[in-house]
């Protein structure tokens, strides 16, 4: 008996549910069994009965929520049998430990859940890997043709130019604690900034973890005592808090794919917008769909209208799932 895709997996209020495996993917509320694509807080939540994820994602969840974040945990290694499906994890290139999840029922379509993914080389995580599938369930955070992310090294160059032009002004970059912060640090290092970089307390444990995993971030100092550090990283929410008042005449910057659009930077009061994204941009998104050539594309969250329209033009069958609860760029 061959199952239809809709009988294998469908969206629920708690997230995507796999029937023959009896598990959820990135569930939004506590469930008995969860498979987690990556450690961002809106995808990886505490309180599940059992969690399967990569070793790194499990470590990150433990760092964030404490060791008792789930009843039990299992490291995803190789293809694993769960109920009547075979499950495997494949690098997504989004953040450290991020994965796509392939679900292969015994009889029925191979379903690939992209999670959040990115195809631009990123020194802090493994590169995205193509996986053959029949149903491709993709994110579409930047699913409009205006999003073409520049080479991240160009953006790092712009940062260093501004720091040289305003040597007396601290440069504060808003960057999410998992992934973006470490990537920005690695980019600044690659662009030639070797001095100490100050980090907000909320970034410390995850930066330490990256270093433990063998990712070189260079000298880091606490932002409460930045010394000579001209470059300071903080979660974006810190910009609206009195924390930022300790810096004299700072240049506020923000590293995000949203910085492509000027109004987005203005709305946040950003002086130096840096277009550095951990998601696929429009050319990568559309190229991925062409490359994988699935029978059908399902769209989890983001700008689904744009991607749906593109699929229609290309003659690719698609449907939006309109999953609520995943942020456009999480934390």
């Amino acid at each position: 008996m061959t199952r239809r895709a809709e009988e294998v997996i469908y969206p629920t209020d708690a997230g995507l549910y796999c029937v023959p495996g009896d598990f959820y993917i990135d569930p939004l509320r506590p469930v008995p069994r969860a498979l987690v694509t990556h450690g961002h807080a809106d995808h990886a939540r505490p309180g599940h009965g059992a969690v399967m994820a990569t070793r790194e994602t499990l470590d990150i969840m433990a760092i964030r929520y404490g060791d008792d974040f789930a009843g039990s945990r299992q490291i995803a290694e190789g293809p694993v049998r769960i109920g009547a499906v075979t499950v495997s994890f494949h690098p997504a290139g989004h953040v450290l430990g991020s994965s796509q999840i392939l679900i292969a029922p015994d009889h029925g379509p191979r379903i690939l859940i992209s999670g959040d993914y990115c195809r631009t080389p990123n020194p802090v995580c493994q590169p995205w890997e193509p996986v053959n599938c029949d149903i491709f369930i993709t994110e579409a955070t930047f699913g409009l043709p205006i999003f073409r992310h520049p080479d991240p090294m160009t953006e790092a160059g712009r940062l260093l130019t501004s720091m040289a032009e305003f040597p007396g002004r601290p440069h504060l970059i808003g960057a999410y604690a998992l992934g973006k912060a470490q990537r920005v640090i690695a980019l600044a290092r690659a662009a030639g900034h070797h001095g100490p970089i100050a980090i907000h307390g909320a970034l410390k444990r995850l930066c330490d973890y990256h270093v433990d995993q063998g990712i070189d971030l260079g000298p880091l100092v606490p932002a409460t005592d930045p010394g000579e550090a001209q470059l300071i990283l903080a979660p974006p929410s810190a910009f609206a808090s009195p924390w930022v008042q300790r810096f004299r005449d700072p240049v506020l910057s923000y590293a995000s794919g949203w910085m492509t659009v000027r109004a987005q930077a203005r709305r946040r009061g950003i002086e130096l917008p840096l277009v550095i994204s951990d998601h696929v941009d429009w050319p990568q998104l559309t190229a991925t769909i062409r490359e994988l050539a699935p029978q059908e594309v399902w769209i989890t969250h983001g700008a689904e209208d744009g991607l749906t329209r593109w699929c229609e033009i290309e003659g690719i069958s698609s449907r939006p799932l309109r999953l609520i609860g995943y942020e456009d760029e999480p934390e």
Binding site: L144, P145, I146, F147, R148, R158, S162, E165, F166, R169, L172, F239, A240, S241, P242, W243, V244, Q245, F247, R248, D249, P250, L252, T260, V261, R262, A263, A265, R266, R267, R268, G269, I270, E271, L272, P273, A303, D305, G306, R309, W310, I313
Partner: protein, 519 residues
């Protein structure tokens, strides 16, 4: 064009004046000719380019991008030029060598109307998204860069041996790509000076009664400080020009003044709207500013006039080295044939007490204080401390309630420093204005704490506040305004005091402000 695009982008996101200066001066120092000269022309609004209509751009993009995808994108971006710059489908790899700003300007200047769509499309194909945005903003004449001519001149002077006053003195007569100007800035020969040039103006500094007391009244004259705009009217060698105090030409908006300039010389004074003997408020003058052409109806309903207070040249003679006493005598003996041009009268006073009384009772609401000038000094460009003072009328004040707050930039990053305040009308608080200065650093911290503890709702970066805090708002005047819900626009409002002693219910009412408008 990459450097120019980056310059525009950085200026657009940089609010602080000093940071803008750094960015501009760095651009001028590192960009080769003739590109920097064309950029200078763009920044000062002196470049005449063929304008491309939004409908032409929409047509170009509709030939290349799916209509529905474009509409979704435009909805998200909110700006037509920016959407087109981002969505234009070029293969980045296939791009040829960089297009220079000069090449782009030449194309926009010289292409005929029929060839324009093809040429624009070809340029867009060859540019990166930030460059495309710069080109489209140029081509639609919609730059809104937020730098004044004066700021640009100051940036040009940085790192050179020339001052911004010297630049302003030779500015008129120079044109894109400004090669002689840059040669001169680098220490070379002076460029040719134009006929009827702008001459940098002499500015006054503020003074308090305490600072005034030790000065000798007999060594000074006083005039009204008019609430118009400071202009320099120059008629030399058959050319007639009307400049703002920053050297920007505004003659096209004031053909009635140009026509009245039948003299030969350069004079300094206040531009006002005058009906018969009555001088109209600043709001009336504002209706004529910034226009490329003026209708006949407007010329009749809003007739302009000049109130002169100084004379810089007369019939070929440079009078600036003379002391004010001699210049005033020359001004009074000069012949002006038009009723549109008159002199700003000297105020009769023997003691500072007398001047204080005069200042307290101006005969016209279009007076914002008095000017006090030393009789023995020549006309010195810039703002020398001492010879000229402005002594403004005491500001008007009202007690208003804080309604909204937004965080500041640069030195005020992280502080809520931009405030909207309101007055009572019935049981409701009506927003009447915004203020972002006037308070001390200590008061700023107090206001910031208040905002954080009293936020009731957030709209993006704006916080709505519980209406609990009264502030004293000082301002310089009022205008009728249809754009404001209150019907009134304040001039230079600032928070002069935090009135924690006063409950919100005792803040002023909107009627009080309206009564001030009538008085």
């Amino acid at each position: 064009m990459k450097a120019f695009a980056r310059l525009l982008e950085r200026l657009a996101f940089t609010p602080a004046r000093n940071a803008k200066l750094t960015i501009l001066s760095h651009y001028f120092q590192t960009t080769p000719d003739p590109d920097r000269g064309y950029a200078l022309a763009v920044l000062t609004g002196t470049l005449d380019l063929r304008q491309v209509s939004p409908s032409l751009l929409k047509r170009l993009v509709s030939e290349r991008v799916d209509e529905q995808l474009f509409r979704l994108s435009y909805d998200f971006v909110g700006d037509l030029a920016e959407t087109i710059a981002l969505i234009w489908p070029t293969d980045a790899e296939a791009r040829a060598e960089e297009v220079s700003l000069s090449q782009a300007v030449t194309v926009l200047r010289e292409t005929g109307k029929l060839a324009l769509p093809g040429v624009i499309a070809d340029l867009l194909d060859r540019l990166t998204p930030p460059e495309r945005l710069a080109l489209l903003k140029l081509a639609t004449g919609n730059l809104r860069i937020g730098v004044s001519a004066r700021l640009t001149h100051t940036a040009l002077a940085m790192g050179t041996s020339r001052s911004s006053e010297e630049i302003e003195e030779i500015w008129h007569g120079q044109a894109a790509p400004f090669l002689p100007l840059f040669t001169w800035l680098a220490g070379g020969a002076s460029p040719a000076v134009a006929l009827a040039p702008f001459r940098p103006v002499m500015l006054a500094t503020p003074i308090t009664p305490e600072e005034l007391a030790p000065l000798d009244p007999a060594a000074h004259v006083a005039e009204w400080k008019w609430d118009g705009i400071r202009v320099q009217a120059v008629a030399e060698g058959g050319l007639r020009k009307l400049y703002t105090r920053a050297g920007e030409e505004i003659g096209t908006a004031f053909p009635d003044i140009i026509e009245a300039m039948t003299f030969e010389g350069a004079v300094d004074g206040e531009l006002l709207i005058r009906r018969g003997e009555e001088i109209a408020p600043f709001g009336d003058l504002q209706k004529r500013l910034g226009r490329k052409s003026i209708s006949r109806t407007m010329l009749q309903s809003h007739p302009a006039a000049l109130m002169l207070y100084d004379i810089l040249t007369w019939e070929g003679e440079d009078l600036r080295p003379l002391p004010l006493s001699a210049r005033r005598a020359r001004l009074e003996s000069a012949q002006f044939d038009s009723p549109r041009i008159g002199l700003s009268p000297l105020l009769p006073f023997e003691t500072w007490e007398e001047l204080t009384r005069i200042r307290a009772e101006p005969h016209s609401p279009v007076i914002e204080g008095v000017m006090i000038k030393r009789l023995d000094t020549p006309y010195i460009a810039g703002r020398p401390r001492g010879p000229w003072f402005k002594w403004k009328r005491d500001p008007m004040v009202i007690d208003a309630v804080l309604l909204y707050a937004q965080s500041g930039h640069g030195k005020r990053s992280g502080f809520y420093s931009d405030f909207t305040f309101g007055l009572w009308e019935g049981e409701e608080l009506i927003p009447v204005g915004k203020a972002y200065f006037g308070f001390t650093d200590e008061e700023l911290r107090e206001l910031d704490r208040f905002v954080r503890k009293n936020t009731v709702q957030r709209f993006g970066p704006v916080r709505q506040l519980a209406p609990n805090l009264v502030v004293e708002v000082a301002f310089e005047g009022l205008n009728v305004s249809q754009r404001h819900r209150s019907g009134i626009a304040m001039r230079f409002p600032r928070i002069s005091r935090i009135r924690t002693d006063k409950p919100a219910s005792e803040a002023d009412r909107l009627e009080t402000l309206k009564a001030m408008l009538r008085s």
